[in-house]
Symmetry: C3
Subunit: 286 residues, 3 copies
Amino acid sequence: MPLITLTTDFGTKDHFVGAVKGAIFSELSDAKIVDITHEISPFNITETAYILKNSYKSFPDKTIHIIGVDSELSADNKHIAVELDNHFFVCPDNGIISMIASEIKPSKIVEINIHDRIESSFPVLDVFVQVACFIARGGNLTVIGKEVKEFKKLVEIQPKVNQAKNQIIGGVVYIDNYGNVISNISQKMFQEIGKGRRFKASARRYSFTKIFTKYNQVAGNNAHDNIQYDGSKLAIFNAAGYLEIAIYRSNSDTVGGASTLLGLGYRDSITLNFINDSQLDFTPLT
Amino acid sequence: MPLITLTTDFGTKDHFVGAVKGAIFSELSDAKIVDITHEISPFNITETAYILKNSYKSFPDKTIHIIGVDSELSADNKHIAVELDNHFFVCPDNGIISMIASEIKPSKIVEINIHDRIESSFPVLDVFVQVACFIARGGNLTVIGKEVKEFKKLVEIQPKVNQAKNQIIGGVVYIDNYGNVISNISQKMFQEIGKGRRFKASARRYSFTKIFTKYNQVAGNNAHDNIQYDGSKLAIFNAAGYLEIAIYRSNSDTVGGASTLLGLGYRDSITLNFINDSQLDFTPLT
Amino acid sequence: MPLITLTTDFGTKDHFVGAVKGAIFSELSDAKIVDITHEISPFNITETAYILKNSYKSFPDKTIHIIGVDSELSADNKHIAVELDNHFFVCPDNGIISMIASEIKPSKIVEINIHDRIESSFPVLDVFVQVACFIARGGNLTVIGKEVKEFKKLVEIQPKVNQAKNQIIGGVVYIDNYGNVISNISQKMFQEIGKGRRFKASARRYSFTKIFTKYNQVAGNNAHDNIQYDGSKLAIFNAAGYLEIAIYRSNSDTVGGASTLLGLGYRDSITLNFINDSQLDFTPLT
């Protein structure tokens, strides 16, 4: 039996999540349901995309992902079911598909058209559950929707590279549970533009000349004494492959994380400057 | 294997929920456990009732619902197991059953009497789990309790209708994850009292002359431009069938929801005034 | 199929928990995963230990517990898999094992050595999931690690008993969802040192001469009127067996719990003084 995951902005207090799970079990008594999150900031598609694109690939092929964020049906916000990268997504056509998988072409998209049979002001419960369970039972997408070729494009804001190819200006796309500040600059872009040159990463009045791949590299070789480094600021390519500004072992509830301590918020800019060794006017990195 | 749901005020940080789930799996290795919520405000029976009555019906028949809110055993707070609407509820007899299903008569109620065998200061873990697993294995309620005819009545505060039948005064019963303000005035009552008359719904200094059934109806026919309506206040009969005051696509964490923006809290009053077209002293609705 | 539990400081918003669950299901399609909590304060080992030691025993034998708190691999923070009390724990060797089960000797400990095959900056996802699924399939610990005899000892701060054996000075180790303040003084220690003597328990400027075993004992015989006691402060040996200072039916979100109302925080001291009936300078208990 395929897995069904849930990603919503419902929160975990209201009856919404319970009702949706109950409806799935009423349709499919042996369903396996996994919560990805219900803590999406209300109506926030960028957050939804960040969380989903970093989690969906861990699931087995054929997993069905229900996305309940800003899903009220309207002329401008159709419901779609998408097969992409061997996963299924049941979601509003609000741009989220293009943000989840900008590099992967969906193999099939249908505009869900079972609404005439279902009067609903709670589409995740009444429509998405039906569609997901239909797919879980092996149903073909074209039975519950009309195949379409297009879906709404809403590309996440991309970092900008200057003409001289010595500067990348990115932005903060997510603040995680530890208060770590995650940018849209990928390790891949860093390598392609940087080509091994020295660099300085800057965010507000802070700068970094090293980017780690593990947090405890901030302690260098002092592995047995790394508690001394608690609270140090650092730049890292995180497990998802993005440039992140972090505070070593930070607790955002108490001392604060990078977000609060460095004053970095959603959409603030993070800049990478690369230095050619031949540059005469070279300013020492600090 | 029947489902077992959990609705508690335990929160999700402490060991309570984990311990309860472990105990269920120790009894029933193939149990299916679904969290309805653990975020009930401590000891709040009204909230518990609102959440349960809007979610339990989505679950398959024979689902067993454990309710762990204010469940410490006392002379005044017995433990009961109830069969109602083809579902089972294991809970304290603190009025919650009457609030969940005011219109549905339980088909069986027993006062749980296995406490002499179990010394416990954590009754959900030690008593409710035993009872729920016993029911899940097909056990008869009368084996674990003494059948009783009465249970504690605690009817949710009901809206008041004036003698002239042109006014309903209701109250706020719940604030949801989006900050939406939910009243105890049902669509059914609105139709029975209003009989199609024009009306004005008032909450504090705000008033509404339309009640929508979908949030995006606030945008009228401007479906392709409805982002302009973000932040508009509106009245709606929500998916649960109750009059709700909402802010279109509000984010209660940032801009605020109806609750904070309009200053509406739990138990505040919401009034519906109906207008006879023949009324001479008719004041234009604004 | 054995159960796998998760205890982390990941929070429930980020993609971390979803990714880990997806990875488990990719390895073991019939896995049963139970969240103990993801709300551990970042990097807080004491909290992790309190929550785990009070929940793991409820689970069936052979349950596998993944602990994802401060788990980045370093020379000083190896990864271990432990068989203890018929349960398995997959965790960093950061002292947590000694705090979970100070009185129970592990029957086997291995230092996980599969890291050469796995390059990872997200060890819970990449390493712990592999190890847990390997154990779930019946694999022997020695295949994925080198047996070791030692693990890091980090004993929770223990209460101190004075030489005259008439005083115990303990400390606050946890604040629960209700704002209740939990100390490290066990009922067992109280009985062994107190030997039935009268006592006074003191925390800040509050003192208690009774310690209950159920919260509603604060109402004495007035069971039918115990709403009058809402908000009373009381001392109790909680279900986990520790001395706890509580406010009867407190709501830490509104009126506040014992923690906020009495000004008691993590590591604050709680003192028990025992009184010999023969003492001449006996000060009346108030």
